[in-house]
Symmetry: C2
Subunit: 351 residues, 2 copies
């Protein structure tokens, strides 16, 4: 019994991409923590495949599930020693949270933004919502600023439960800020805050499955979106963003997670982004920490977890990378209507 057998079993039972290396990453994580959420976080293996792998490792006698803990058996420890697997190690810089940037000129608006965010609409499952911490949003704005994509620029935010539009507008740096969201609660909230604070934000209710309104096409310097993680959904949202850019030199930002996207899916996404005329200029993993949403016990992966514990609201395990692209060619994206469910695919875990 070795990693390869586990990996084959996971692939056979789930049809999900899963490598020997994924099995190794899970064991490395278990060497560091017995807690399911830390194991998910440290291993960076998509949750649905990870759940199956834990079960296979349990069946193989490597793990035991003791109440809320996941423990290595002597057999499991022997396997790890034989394979030379080292404990997972986090070396995140404590000052910047691993993001590499300072808040700089964004720092003065941090308190105001946190105050505003206190009365934000709660995340709901209908639209696959789940927002990042206020700190993550503030660092995003700093990152855009440092890349020359904020000050004096026209910014479009596609889907905005993270309140990026408000944080951007609070800095006073952008030339224009437009946000689109399907959720009327969010559109109403952003409008109300903007009115109260005297901020220039245009908030529009829009379903991104529909084509972008003509007035928003080829009209922006920068877009931001944190798409749903299905391959089709991700590419649809990113495509809308790309078609909103003025042309070469325009920049796009996206959040992309490992929790619901295998590296095979990451690769498919990257190939398509390049195909559409863009280059990746930055890819900073674990840039975004998510606040745990209230529907955790009804999310798709909950019943698959081998041990169950409801994580605290501010106990991040769901993280995502920040990707920046820049157009080097005229974009190749069709502004067409998308039919059907764009939220679910086999790796979806939190829908």
């Amino acid at each position: 019994m070795d990693l390869h057998v586990i990996a084959e079993a996971v692939r056979a039972r789930t049809s999900l991409p899963f490598t020997d290396r994924d099995a190794e990453r899970i064991l490395a994580a278990i060497l560091t923590s017995e807690d399911i959420w830390r194991i998910i976080d440290l291993s960076d293996v998509p949750v649905m495949a990870l759940c199956q792998a834990l079960r296979e490792m349990g069946k193989a006698g490597w793990l035991e599930f003791a109440g809320e803990r996941i423990r290595l058996t002597p057999e499991g420890r022997g396997l790890i020693q034989g394979a030379g697997i080292a404990p997972a190690l986090e070396l995140r810089c404590p000052r910047c949270g691993g993001r590499g940037v300072e808040l700089g000129p964004v720092a003065p608006i941090a308190e105001k933004f946190r105050e505003i965010a206190k009365s934000r609409p709660e995340a709901i499952q209908d639209y696959d919502q789940g927002y990042v911490t206020e700190e993550s949003t503030l660092y995003r704005i700093a990152f855009l600023w440092a890349r020359g994509d904020l000050a004096g620029k026209e910014l479009l935010v596609l889907g905005d439960d993270d309140l990026v539009s408000l944080a951007a507008a609070l800095t006073g740096a952008p030339k224009r800020v437009v946000m689109l969201d399907i959720d009327e609660r969010l559109v109403g909230f952003v409008r109300e805050v903007a009115r109260g604070e005297g901020l220039q934000v245009e908030a529009l209710q829009h379903d991104l499955r529909e084509p972008l309104p003509a007035g928003l096409l080829s009209a922006f310097d920068t877009f931001f979106c944190d798409p749903t993680e299905s391959l089709r959904g991700f590419l649809a949202f990113a495509g809308r963003g790309i078609s909103a850019l003025k042309g070469p030199g325009g920049a796009g930002y996206m959040g992309l997670t490992r929790r619901e996207a295998s590296l095979s899916k990451w690769r498919a996404i990257q190939r398509e982004l390049l195909e559409r005329g863009a280059v990746l200029t930055d890819l900073r993993d674990d840039f975004h920490d998510y606040v745990n949403w209230p529907y955790i016990e009804t999310m798709r992966s909950w019943e698959h977890l081998p041990v169950k514990r409801v994580p605290g609201r501010d106990e991040p395990w769901y993280r995502s990378a920040l990707i920046r692209i820049e157009l080097v060619e005229a974009p190749k994206v069709a502004n067409e209507r998308l039919e059907g469910d764009i939220f679910t695919d086999p790796e979806a875990a939190t829908t």
Copy 2:
């Protein structure tokens, strides 16, 4: 006269990729500094194209070259104001140097490594050498460790004027460390240090234009290389690394700069890496700072600089990104001999 006219002139006179956005980045940098090396660093525009753009902006009456300084004229300031260009802003975290990681378990070997590096062979122009700061090498090792690519792993370093092999071996974490270099001075230095310090490093003299020795094919978990920046040279070095990996789950690290590679070249490189079976998992810009090499006044771009000043040895302006790839499929790379000059292409500035 606007950015677009400058961009067209640069493209027409140099045949190099250059966008309106590149012209904007140069002006944003000049708003922040009058020094040529800071402008190169802040603008992230390839040096050869940047030199031409500065000349065009001078001809247009936007800039004046005063001794060692580059200054905006009133006309230049007017243009910038009209276009709404904001000053370039660096928000690099001062603790981690923008890298996002802590040295952690690498910290205890830092002093020893710096001591060893004091007697390293100096960079020579023949092989397009130019090494990163010792700090950059140490952070690289920490990054590999945090990604699970160091401890218990077999590591191949392709071209090693940065002394990655010695830093890795000093930690005692890898299972095996092999370094290849064309430069006998470096191979001898690494062998001598390894013998003196009792480190397990296999150092082999090898020209990467030649196929990899059969014993090194499909034999490693991780490779590291900081290739020459020509498109052909970069892909050749990266391809050797990929063919040395055991298979899916194997990881590769590369340095890639903006100084001698346009975003168009970055895109071509990324497309090819994906094509070969890999995904990009990390892309951290400005991870590596380079020590200024002794041949700066004979490098290709020197005569093109509109103002000339020899930068201090520890005054970094040449930086590069750290890219991590992981194989998700069996690699598609031919282990063939490469003929001719792999160092120069139109964007080469420091060869």
